[in-house]
Amino acid sequence: MARLLAVDTSAQRGSVALAVDGEVIVEHSDEPRSHTRLLEPMMNRLLARAGLSLNDLDGLAYGRGPGSFTGLRITAGFVQGIAWGLDCPVVPVSSLAAMALSVSPGSGSVPVASALDARMGEVYWSCYRVSADRTLQVLVDDCLLLPGDLSLPSVADHDSWVGVGTGWQYHEAIPEALMSAMTSIDADAMPDAADVARLALPELARGNTVDAAAVQPSYIRDDVGWQKTPGR
């Protein structure tokens, strides 16, 4: 089985996970603005627990976004550096997909809608079918929408949707028909490197990887009202 290290700092939670022989161990911190301080110690502790060094890894995975621009670059920069140094393959994983995997259906599968607060009154949005074996199928890929413009794809079990992520705090602005299709909502859910690792393992096995130079954030929002440095 592959040995894979996964990193995610797309939201306030920073996490690092290590998958070894099918087992996933993880470290996280919910302390605000601590990613650059805590990421490396979390990685070191995981490697020490597993008795491994970075050279023993078969691959890396990272939460590519969407999410906090700075957070995405912290992970992408760090993972890019490691991947280039080790010359090892990398699997980019959607942070929204990782967040959807925080839902674990007891059996069968469940439709999951990930909504992450994108600020400026918008949400990052995507929809999945999450199975009990912790795999998922993409129904709607990552996009950026106003809460009032959200809609669910049509599925057979159309009234059994689960919502995850900070975007659901805008529930008052989300169309009522959509809200009535939700059976439960976890607005505190955040992407976690353990789920990034779980999603990445089969992709690594299939060779769906990129090299270090392609380790880039997926911002989704590319038309921010750019502002120069004040006073300069």
Binding site: R37, T70, A76, G81, W84, G85, A213, W226, K228
Partner: protein
């Protein structure tokens, strides 16, 4: 010791390799100036996005130019501050990731320390002690340098940095960002002595600077001349010359004062404005009768670059200094807080 240097503090991505025995082996730079020109200044989010796209290809370029493999690197230095925090983080996180993968030391370097050591990259570089004039878009400082990490701030701008004043005056003259090189080019067509701008804070003792008044003086001069119906290309060239002369004279007067006050016989000039030809000519003429010498980095190492980071990092890494596990990115960081070379890593 072979050190990879990484600079991402503002709007230039710079990478270089410095070797103890052979000196600078390779350096490469990507300037974002064109990307920011339309905004009249640096847009931090755009800068960060560009750094993370450009950094790795530049690393591959310098390795290839130096004929080295990744495993041939012995240590990594990166700019830890001061600068734009998001931009700094790109270099910092990449450097730490790479260093851990290669299992070699990594060190966050002070951007302004690297600037003031940049003249030492030249074969006939200065020896300690020297007085450094750091003059760029973000800084205008006079620093006494007795050794690496032994810095005394002699004076600094109380308002705008000299380069910032150039940018603002350029805007009034309808010139694009960055203003320095454009004003210098326009000033060549100027009529000497048509206007005389003040030399701020030179009539009182001390080594501090102030450039915001020159900005107002520029605006008023342009307005008065325009009201008198004189708004033409020659007016702009004459104002550009008068402005540049005022900045250059002010800097020269303070540099002279700093040399006389300290009794030090070596002046070094670093930072983007240090590439200005008129400033170089004036300072060279100023030090001659004082029997002092003035040193400059080559023009491409006046502006931000990876070579100065590789060199400054090399000096400290070779003394055993290195980062712990924290990836450093400090937007503000006083140079006088830096340790000497004898401090533990």
């Amino acid at each position: 010791m072979r050190v990879l240097g990484i600079e991402t503090s503002c709007d230039e991505t710079g990478v270089a390799i410095y070797d103890t025995e052979q000196g600078l082996l390779a350096h490469a730079l990507h300037s974002q100036v064109a990307a920011h020109a339309g905004y009249g200044g640096v847009v931090p989010e755009l800068a960060s996005r560009d750094h993370i796209r450009r950094l790795l290809p530049l690393c591959e370029q310098v390795l290839s130019e130096a004929g080295l493999a990744r495993r041939d690197l012995d240590a990594i230095a990166y700019t830890a501050g001061p600068g734009l925090i998001g931009a700094l983080m790109v270099g910092s996180t990449f450097a730490h990731g790479l260093a851990r993968a290669l299992d070699i030391p990594v060190l966050g370097v002070h951007h302004m320390e690297a600037h003031l050591l940049a003249p030492m990259l030249e074969p006939e570089g200065p020896d300690f002690p020297f007085v450094a004039l750091l003059v760029s878009g973000g800084h205008t400082q006079l620093v006494r340098v007795d050794d690496i990490g032994r810095y005394e701030l002699l004076g600094e701008s109380v308002d705008d940095a000299a380069g910032e004043a150039f940018d603002k005056a350029a805007r009034m003259l309808g010139l694009e960002y960055p203003g320095g090189p454009r004003i210098a080019a326009l000033a060549q067509e100027g009529t000497p002595d048509r206007f005389r701008f003040p030399r701020p804070m030179t009539n009182r003792p001390g080594l501090d600077f102030s450039f915001s008044g020159l900005k107002t003086y520029t605006r008023n001069t342009l307005r008065d001349a325009t009201e008198a119906g004189e708004a033409d290309h020659q007016l702009h060239a004459d104002v550009a010359l008068a402005f540049q002369t005022a900045v250059v004279e002010t800097l020269a007067i303070k540099c002279r004062r700093a040399l006389e006050q300290t009794g030090i016989r070596t002046l070094i000039v670093a930072g983007g404005v240090g590439a200005n030809r008129a400033l170089r000519d004036r300072l060279s003429a100023m030090v001659e009768p004082l029997e002092c010498r003035v040193f400059y980095p080559r023009p491409e190492f006046c502006t931000d670059n990876g070579a100065m980071i590789a060199f400054a990092g090399h000096e400290r890494l070779r003394a055993g200094q290195q980062d712990g596990p924290e990836m450093l990115a400090w937007p503000r960081w006083s140079m006088t807080e830096l340790p000497g070379l004898d401090a533990a890593g």
